[in-house]
């Protein structure tokens, strides 16, 4: 389903008026449900993408060793229950959620191999350095799990003035979706209508402005033809989509008011930790308020964008310890662990907030999946043969992720699976099944690379 076409078709018949704002969200939900799974249970997925790679060792349970040299070569899936093991100290903050998570090993991502970040290929399962070749998994899931806002991308860049990261997510071939790295701008965009002050009036003026601009661009467009006209088609659709969203935000106003986060302290002191924490807070608030069902959180990410965390005692960027350099008495490994623990703490905090909200017979966390990975596979200079991931939550019981260590068959083995297979699995679980994703790895030419990771699908 092409979301844009559907939206425009819906909008064609609507006029301004109080009725329109109430009608639109219902119509949209109906259309979305018609295309998606029949289940009415809300599901949500959060991707936490951290730069600088994830060393497989950090995702190993204690007591299970990796081979001394090279990588695992198992032909069959090996697994263990996490009941009898503890997590690596890099993941210590997630200990309380051990029984809800899976340490997933053995997926390869060679198609997205690059000297550093896999860029869009990390979430897209395609080559790293040809720009956005297609839709990334987060945007694909946003079509399967539509919300008021289809997708929210929040991130942390090296400096506060770097507001957008264009190297991780894409909605279609050639169409990169920016990750908003300014928590202040993100806050304004998501909660501006209910923020303290003249939010309401401003919200209505915005609605009028969007209507006006849609009309204005339509006129300008009428005078052009062909490719030139198509340029304005996109600009027109932008206004129409934003206008449509106004109505849907209106419908959940009460929930927004109840969940608007207070980030004033973090805005005042925009350290790296405050900025990233603010983004996690916004993620939790947006999910709980029902603004969206898919969030991509990016720490660094793309190209050679690495973060320094002076607040954690690591004043150098990830490139430094990625190359084995230590700082202030800490080894490179110390730096990696400290930073990973910090991210684990943030993920645990997010999970905790979702767990505190009742939903159906359980909590929001029961219907959530958090995918923790790096855009750079298994290291600063990735090999691509392994792309370690942590999955927290079982997406309403559609995935089998409770308390497992999974070592899938190694690269080149008959039953080997890639990141593309995982992404197909997620789409199955979300109700929009697909068996292929991204671009096949030519190094696995003899393997049927379609299909899911059966070990994970319930």
């Amino acid at each position: 389903m092409n979301l844009e076409t559907t939206r425009r078709d819906l909008l064609k018949g609507l006029t301004l008026g109080a009725g329109a704002t109430l009608l639109t969200p219902i119509l949209t939900q109906l259309a979305a449900h018609a295309a998606a799974a029949p289940s009415a249970v809300r599901k949500r997925v959060i991707f936490v993408v951290q730069s600088n790679g994830i060393k497989p060792e950090h995702l190993m349970p204690t007591g299970i060793a990796r081979p001394r040299h090279g990588r695992p070569t198992n032909a069959k899936t090996e697994e263990a229950s996490l009941k009898d093991h503890t997590l690596h100290r890099a993941l210590e903050p997630l200990a309380a959620f051990k029984d809800r998570l899976t340490l997933l090993h053995g997926l390869s991502g060679r198609i997205a191999l690059s000297d550093h970040s896999g860029n869009h290929g990390a979430l897209g399962a395609y080559p790293a350095n040809k720009g956005p070749m297609g839709q990334t998994i987060d945007l694909a899931l946003s079509e399967a799990l539509p919300g008021v806002v289809p997708h929210i991308g929040l991130g942390l860049a090296e400096r506060p003035d770097m507001t957008m990261n264009y190297q991780i997510s894409a909605s279609a071939r050639g169409k990169t979706v920016p990750i908003q790295c300014s928590p202040e701008l993100a806050f304004k965009g998501l909660f501006g209508s209910v923020a303290r002050g003249s939010g309401r009036e401003a919200f209505d003026r915005r609605t009028n402005l969007l209507d006006f601009m849609a009309e204005d661009v339509k006129r300008a467009r009428g005078a052009l033809a062909g490719e030139e006209r198509a340029k304005l088609d996109q600009y027109l659709e932008a206004f129409e989509a934003l206008r449509d969203r106004q109505g849907r935000i209106e419908a959940i106003r009460d929930k927004l008011v109840a969940n608007v986060p207070d980030l004033s302290d973090k805005f005042k002191k925009p350290t790296e930790t405050n900025r990233l924490q603010a983004q996690f807070d916004l993620t939790a608030a947006s999910l709980i308020a029902g603004l969206t069902n898919v969030v991509t959180l990016v720490s660094g990410g793309g190209g050679q964008h690495y973060i320094s965390f002076p607040e954690l005692g690591i004043p150098v960027g990830g490139h430094h310890y990625g190359h084995g350099g230590g700082v202030e008495g800490k080894t490179a490994e110390d730096c990696f662990i400290t930073v990973r623990q910090y991210h684990a703490r943030l993920i645990a905090g997010l999970a905790k907030k979702l767990q505190a909200v009742k939903e159906g017979d359980g909590t929001m966390l029961d219907n959530t999946l958090i995918v923790y990975l790096s855009d750079s596979g298994d290291g600063h200079h990735p090999t691509g043969y392994e792309w370690p991931m942590l999955l927290l939550g079982d997406l309403g019981g559609t995935l089998k992720t409770r308390g497992r260590f999974l070592q899938l068959p190694a690269y080149g083995q008959k039953d080997h699976r890639t990141t593309a297979n995982l992404y197909a699995t997620l789409l199955h679980a979300a109700g929009k099944p697909r068996d292929t994703f991204g671009v096949a790895d030519p190094g696995l030419r003899d393997l049927d690379q379609s299909g899911v990771v059966n070990e994970l699908l319930a």
């Binding site: 507001t163 920016p178 300014s182 965009g189 003026r205 601009m213 198509a230 996109q234 600009y235 932008a238």
Partner: protein, 678 residues
């Protein structure tokens, strides 16, 4: 594109001997036919008219042009025959311009600069009308013009594609949803600032109940600032109605602001309009004076130029001569900043990317990429100021700016004086201080008298500026492949196929070997097909290390000595290096210019030979065309390109003359109005 005209002309002209189908049948079908479809490709079923299957015919063309076919085991095609086929297919498929900036060379050079190869009507058909979204710097210039200053909190909404080289092509950019969100927020910020400095706007916003006249005045003022024209009555009516709607639900102050923000979001504000005024009988329409004022402003500067706006309002941009006069005036006026001129050289050479190449901090010398870029900027500006034989000088000058900056000397009455930009670093205790930045250029000491003449037989031109060498290097090594590709594309007008999917292009990690040796992996048959176009053009730059320092030997790891370098307890004491002989030889092959082809002993020989080449000069001009016109050249631009080349040569190599020629060409000034069949 009048493809029909070309095809008919081809059929009538004598150019039938290179006709595609007999060629394909003779050379290709035996491996790509019904019995044996090598690589899954069949060519026996190609239609005789290339326009009927242009994608397939163009694929044939590209394979032949790039020497990928026939395969190595088959007899080679003569260069001339290859060229003929390439030309024939290009013409017969209608020569649609390639969309992406780095595809412009797909249009064969000889078709643009050779003797007339296309009918005159085609060669002078202006391009279709278009709109061109502001570039990121153009947007910032607009904001500065609107707000009469630099407002805080403006977020850059526009980006450019992640590509090397010239990136702002009109056909590539529009505005999508996330960008629109940023534009909306920016509009709020800009209007807030405008209310402080623009009287008509402030009056309307501050009045408790502004009259329609006050509102209309404000709308007109905003139109003048943003779009440089007066709104029609209908337009004013619609804005007033927007005001009314907002007023109903809130304050007048808010409603006025929203009304003013709307003007800043109009397509006329954010896209450059190039549609032309009244068309003549043959459908040619010159850009209107208003359009020209904006187009010329944004071509040379990143903001509206007041003198051009004024000229337009007085009707003084209505003829080619008038445009020439104004362009010349702007170019000659040192008080008018023209950042886009330097911008061309930065994008063309790519040396400004030096700051994006991460390198470990060297212990024994200074690496300051921002200053290296600044030095090369200074050199380019210096050559542009002299404006003589610009292309040759940029490639072969033995002068350079070294660690150079201008600073105000307050004691001497606030005049600008040269100063050593990056101070030599201080020494640690008991340590030898690292060499200063000037050492990278081979200088023992910094001098205020600049530009400096560099040591003989070391460094010439932009391609041996440390900034360029660093920009085209990797974290730890030189990058002869990408440097070679640069030369192939930007000086020889050639094409290099993209890296095939699934190929991991990595040189083996052998720090004990010279880089040339490590690069031997590209000699494998499947790699050499493409690498033969690049490697030998980039290897001469092995004359320099990856920080851009001149060398006569190459430093490699000495594994034996390193192994032996231990203390009494056997603890390793560090790596030991040795010097090996340096080989700077390379070759120019298959450039399309016989005078260019041949081996080169070192980079200086190479750049001197290229600087003398007419073809290279013309390739340079093709790139200037792309930058200033925001698109790839087509066959219809052949005459404009030839005229620009002639103007450049006639003026003794003046870049200004080249710019005037490009900006007064039909390609820049005229648009076609009748719908073109293609």
């Amino acid at each position: 594109m009048t493809r029909l005209v070309i095809v008919a002309w081809l059929a009538c002209s004598g150019l039938v001997m290179a006709q595609g189908l007999p060629f394909v049948q003779a050379h290709c079908v035996k491996c790509h036919g019904p019995d044996k479809a090598a690589g899954g490709v069949r060519l026996d079923d190609l239609p005789a008219d290339p326009a009927r299957a242009s994608a397939r015919w163009l694929a044939v063309r590209d394979q032949v042009r790039d020497g990928l076919m026939p395969p190595a085991k088959e007899p080679r095609l003569e260069a001339a025959k290859r060229r003929e086929l390439v030309h024939w297919i290009t013409l017969a498929t209608g020569a649609t311009p390639a969309r992406l900036p780095n595809q412009g060379n797909q249009l064969p050079h000889e078709l643009l600069f050779g003797k007339p190869t296309v009918p005159a009507t085609v060669a002078s058909t202006p391009p279709r009308e278009r709109i061109w979204r502001l570039s990121p710097s153009g947007y910032l210039g607009l904001v500065r013009d609107l707000a009469r200053g630099n407002p805080q909190g403006i977020v850059q909404p526009f980006g450019l594609i992640e590509e090397r080289g010239i990136r702002d092509f009109a056909g590539l950019y529009t505005i999508d949803e996330p960008t629109t969100e940023i534009l909306l927020r920016n509009a709020e910020t800009i209007v807030e600032m405008q209310l402080k400095s623009v009287r008509e706007l402030r009056l309307a916003a501050e009045a408790e109940n502004p009259t329609p006249a006050q509102l209309t005045t404000a709308i007109q003022a905003q139109y003048r600032l943003a779009i440089n024209r007066t709104p029609s009555d209908d337009e004013v009516k619609r804005f007033l109605s927007l005001y009314e709607k907002c007023r109903k639900g809130g304050s007048s102050a808010g409603a006025v602001r929203t009304m003013l923000q709307a003007v800043l979001l109009k397509t006329d504000t954010l896209f450059r309009s190039e549609r032309g005024g009244k068309a003549d009988a043959s459908g040619r329409a010159m850009l209107t004076p208003e359009e020209l004022a904006i187009a010329l402003s944004l071509t040379l500067r990143d903001q509206r130029d007041p003198s051009l706006l004024q000229a337009a309002s007085k009707g003084q941009l209505s003829s080619r001569d008038q445009v020439a006069t104004h362009v010349q005036r702007l170019l000659d006026d040192p008080k008018i900043a023209k950042p886009r001129l330097l911008g061309f050289f930065r994008e063309y050479f790519g040396y400004d990317q030096a700051v994006n190449v991460f390198k470990d901090k060297p212990k024994e010398f200074t690496h300051a990429p921002q200053q290296l870029v600044a030095d090369t900027d200074a050199l380019v500006l210096h050559v542009l100021a002299e404006d003589k034989d610009v292309f040759r000088t940029l490639l072969t000058t033995d002068r350079s700016f070294v660690n150079y900056a201008l600073a105000v000397n307050k004691q001497k009455g606030r005049i600008l004086e040269p100063k050593q930009a990056v101070q030599p670093p201080r020494a640690g205790k008991n340590q030898k201080p690292p060499a200063a930045l000037e050492a990278t250029y081979g200088l023992d000491a910094w001098t205020p008298k600049q530009p400096v003449t560099l040591a003989k037989d070391t460094r010439l031109g932009i391609l041996m500026q440390p900034a360029w060498l660093v920009a085209w290097s990797t974290n730890f090594d030189n990058d002869p492949v990408r440097r070679g590709r640069w030369v192939r594309e930007r000086l020889l007008g050639g094409n290099v196929p993209d890296l095939p999917i699934g190929v991991v292009a990595q040189v083996p990690d052998e720090p004990h070997e010279p880089f040339r040796h490590r690069l031997r992996v590209t000699r494998a048959a499947s790699c050499w097909k493409c690498h033969n176009k690049m490697d030998e053009l980039g290897l001469p730059f092995e004359q320099f290390d990856h920080f851009g320092r001149f060398r006569t030997t190459e430093t490699v790891l000495d594994p034996e000595a390193t192994r032996k370098n231990v203390d009494k307890k056997g603890k390793p004491l560090g790596m030991v290096y040795r010097e090996v002989a340096l080989d700077t030889a390379g070759a120019i092959r298959d450039s399309g210019d016989d005078k260019l082809d041949g081996p080169v002993a070192d980079p200086r020989v190479m750049v001197r030979r290229i600087a003398d080449s007419e073809r290279a000069r013309q390739v340079f001009i093709r790139h200037a065309f792309r930058y200033f016109l925001g698109r790839n050249e087509t066959l219809s631009d052949a005459l404009a390109l030839q005229a620009a080349d002639a103007a450049y040569v006639k003026s003794g190599g003046s870049f200004k003359a080249l710019v005037v020629a490009l900006l007064t060409s039909d390609a820049f000034l005229y648009r076609s109005r009748q719908g073109e069949a293609k």
